[in-house]
Point group: C2
Chain length 140, copies 2
């Protein structure tokens, strides 16, 4: 079966608060939005921020918890861009979890939580090639 993820949907409490983090912090533009969900066109997949109540209804499951046991990563082109990106996200409703430093496996990274406690790693990883379209390829 194709190794494929079509959508990542994050459950959020307040769409406009979340929108500020993604639009002003990351500088991303939505491709669609209504009263329940905002979609962003990403590198070959969609990111959705959905009211958590709507997500619970759709998956017929209650009790979704935050922070969840997962992290998303966004790569930046230089080591020098990592901390300023964390700082800007922090000014747009985020909260820094780990200031940028060098992990044991190389590169440079820090973590910031979005307004709904979803964790983003902001990383500079010179080992993994990224195409002009943003497609990431594994490299050991």
């Amino acid at each position: 079966m194709q190794q494929q993820i079509s959508v990542i949907t994050l459950g959020v409490a307040d769409l406009s608060r979340s929108r500020r983090f993604y639009c002003d912090g990351f500088g991303w533009k939505p491709v669609f939005e209504n009263r329940e969900i905002v979609f962003y066109q990403m590198n070959g997949l969609m990111l959705g921020t959905s009211l958590a109540s709507a997500l619970e209804t759709d998956m017929q499951r209650t009790g979704l918890a935050r922070p969840g046991a997962f992290a998303l990563a966004h790569n930046v082109p230089t080591r020098e861009a990592v901390q300023p990106t964390l700082d800007r996200l922090s000014r747009c409703g985020g909260r820094i979890l780990r200031p940028a430093d060098a992990p044991p496996h190389g590169g440079f990274r820090g973590y910031v939580a979005d307004p709904d406690e979803h964790a983003w790693e902001i990383a500079w990883n010179p080992a993994w090639p990224i195409s002009p379209e943003g497609y990431v390829t594994f490299s050991p």
Copy 2:
């Protein structure tokens, strides 16, 4: 800033139990694995399954909860493939949350939880084009 997600990392309790779901259930092949993490090369990004304890250490944050307030989606090429995919994932350590049916916005989908309670939507969505490489483009 580039609208780009480089990695989705899921925190898991048992790498081999998780591996069975992704390798036998989805039929995916890891591109890298060690004692802490398994990486899968996806459509322009990486999926990582990491020991939750290692993820907590890396993000300097404890108390990650499951199920988290998020869902991942995997698209299949036909309506008829949705329920059998859910069933196969269920036989490989998953648990069906919602059997396949038609959502109000069209298409066909169901939800299955992986062995660590991470939710996957298995969807047939004829509205969103998917390239041969698995890249998804939004379409209203």
